[in-house]
Symmetry: C2
Subunit: 438 residues, 2 copies
Amino acid sequence: MNRRQFVQCAATGLSGISIRSALKTPITSEPLHINGPRLNRHLDELAEFGQTQTGGVNRIAYSEADLQGREFVRGLMREAGLDVASDTAGNIIGRREGTESGMPSLMFGSHIDSVPQGGNYDGPLGSLGAIEVAQTLAGHNMVLRHPIDVVVFQNEEGGKTGSRAMSGELEPEELALVTHSGHTIGEGIRIIGGDPEYLDSVRRDPAGIVAYVELHIEQGGLLENEQIEIGVVAGIVGIKRWRVTIDGFANHAGTTPMSDRQDALLAAARFIETVNRVVTGMPGRQVGTVGQIEASPGAPNVIPGQVTLSLEIRDLEMHKIDRVYQAIETESRELAEATKIQFSFDQFYLSRAAPTDEGIRQLVGDSAAELGLSALRMPSGAGHDAQSIALLAPIGMIFIPSVGGISHSPQEFSRPEDVVNGADVLLNTVLKLDEAFD
Amino acid sequence: MNRRQFVQCAATGLSGISIRSALKTPITSEPLHINGPRLNRHLDELAEFGQTQTGGVNRIAYSEADLQGREFVRGLMREAGLDVASDTAGNIIGRREGTESGMPSLMFGSHIDSVPQGGNYDGPLGSLGAIEVAQTLAGHNMVLRHPIDVVVFQNEEGGKTGSRAMSGELEPEELALVTHSGHTIGEGIRIIGGDPEYLDSVRRDPAGIVAYVELHIEQGGLLENEQIEIGVVAGIVGIKRWRVTIDGFANHAGTTPMSDRQDALLAAARFIETVNRVVTGMPGRQVGTVGQIEASPGAPNVIPGQVTLSLEIRDLEMHKIDRVYQAIETESRELAEATKIQFSFDQFYLSRAAPTDEGIRQLVGDSAAELGLSALRMPSGAGHDAQSIALLAPIGMIFIPSVGGISHSPQEFSRPEDVVNGADVLLNTVLKLDEAFD
């Protein structure tokens, strides 16, 4: 077989990942299909655990509904012929050995925990889609060369706990964080059958994973707006967040003439406009958001003396985030000089961008094309478990349209035919990966 | 004596007040002076009740410090030869009868309660200045034609309770409001020796008051900036406040492209800029303030779907307030159409403008001129007890400079020489009023 080397995406930000996979020329054949009605039925069944009156789902990690959902998923894995186990972090892993011994495993999956008052697709699609792929393979008596690991990661929404334990990123302090369930993460790990004292054993050796692929809903409106069926994810955006403090001078709103004011909220308004202008003024898909704001003292009859607000910038390229930030910071300095107002910036959050592997992107695109589906390369604006596994192995992600671009809401919805399309692309991508990678 | 009729200010907003006073030609004589060192010493002594470590004062109505301050003030009134009494609202009234029987009283005074963490001049200046005027008259064995009522109103900062009881504006529901002291206003009235069941008896007959004059610090920076010694207050501004609700659509800050957003906070920022532009774009001294803001859901990674904020507009003329509001509302409607954002306005507060009496303004200006002090006609941007008494009698107000324009703060300060100037103007204005009014 001819082999050609993978080209690692240049804009990586993940210099720690070595290029160790090789692509073989894929065998041309009719694409395989998953069982669409079965997958959509499983999605409906899982949605019953934590179902809310508004038609959404409240299946926060470590809750009773989460425990029930996990038990349901284990059953589906067994039906798909997988050997089911949990690691000590509580990630559920369904394994099936391959035909060739000593091969690293092909990993695919997602999560089933939800945000409070969330929807039925963010996580479940990729988890049940992965199990459906395994069941389809079993139904066709197909055994791959590589072992397959179908993974349902725990507590994605509350900090990607399961996948970050696997990549070795989880910090011991995080175990004390209280989650929406009311339990700390450490307590939660025990509740789902893990052991927070032995998380080192969860960490995976990069040599043991050949690739990771995750199917997910887009959570935005790009695919729907462009009427495209499959998103070939170019990478998961990096995120930086700052706490911005704007200091003016609080004074009486009746006795202080307009010309004498050092109104921190007026400066904040100009800052928010500046963020929008700078972010939209550069070419590219970067986004910038001011989501939190607090003005003090916060009375109708007092000119605000101080405003604190959050600034978040996301892009696939970290240096682009920095460029946007620099432009905002420069304009703020000019604003400060003109208005006797002080701006200060304190970065409090960083999530590195995780580009997907160019070879896997090609295989996802080829699979979509063979299935007769339109596809578009696009970034993922949201974080995913794939981001953690990117520290261990080449990753790929497959998106399907979110109706109305709505997510983290009971209104989150993806059409059954799109669900089937996504799982079909996952199935054929896995088959191609098994052929192409060693 | 020649008499000429008073000209009531045209821009009144207080059509209920009849013109019933007549101005007599004043007797030209050397202006009298109060005892400056004594007044400044009294101010220092009062400042000890509720004094804070930062040099300010925490003498909120109905607190222990307030009770001590009231006792101190009663003592000063007695020293000034006044008959001291309280009405059932708890207003302290020091009375001295006049030489002519059956005359309405000349009233002057202010309050001694402070905002939390307030200063030493807002209220005490006018209260102790009025007592000083009475003591100076007593020291010169001068008895006026009219009786004098030196009044220290209770709970000015918490809603002008005392003066509004006197004008009949106090609503029964207000007695249940909890004040900064932890007590309701009703409980507070009992604490200071009044009786909330008999507030009707506090209401004064307009025929019994010939005029009311209040000395106060400016609380703004106009006099200091213009290097003027005395402010002749043209009136107390009217105030309208609205709760503004801005509805957009909350969405994921990572997955929603900039062009698809309905960001309520970005719209709020443009609204705040619009308020500033409209208010400063019209000639006049109107002020407009956004002091409160809340964005929901209020997370760094969620585009705000709703913002609520306060809008306050103040001016001496109510129709000017309405004109400013209309311009803001029109621009908001245009902003809403352009951005798919909804604006709604809910007015929740109204305080009518209270112009001062033109005759009293002239006497204040004449007094300043005779004392060799520079004077400027100006509005009061803050509310005062005089505003309540304007419903009963012609009012006048005298301002002295506030250093740095700072008020409601421990940094509130007026120079001792300005304190003396203000009380001198009050003394001579009272003398002229006694001559000029019947």
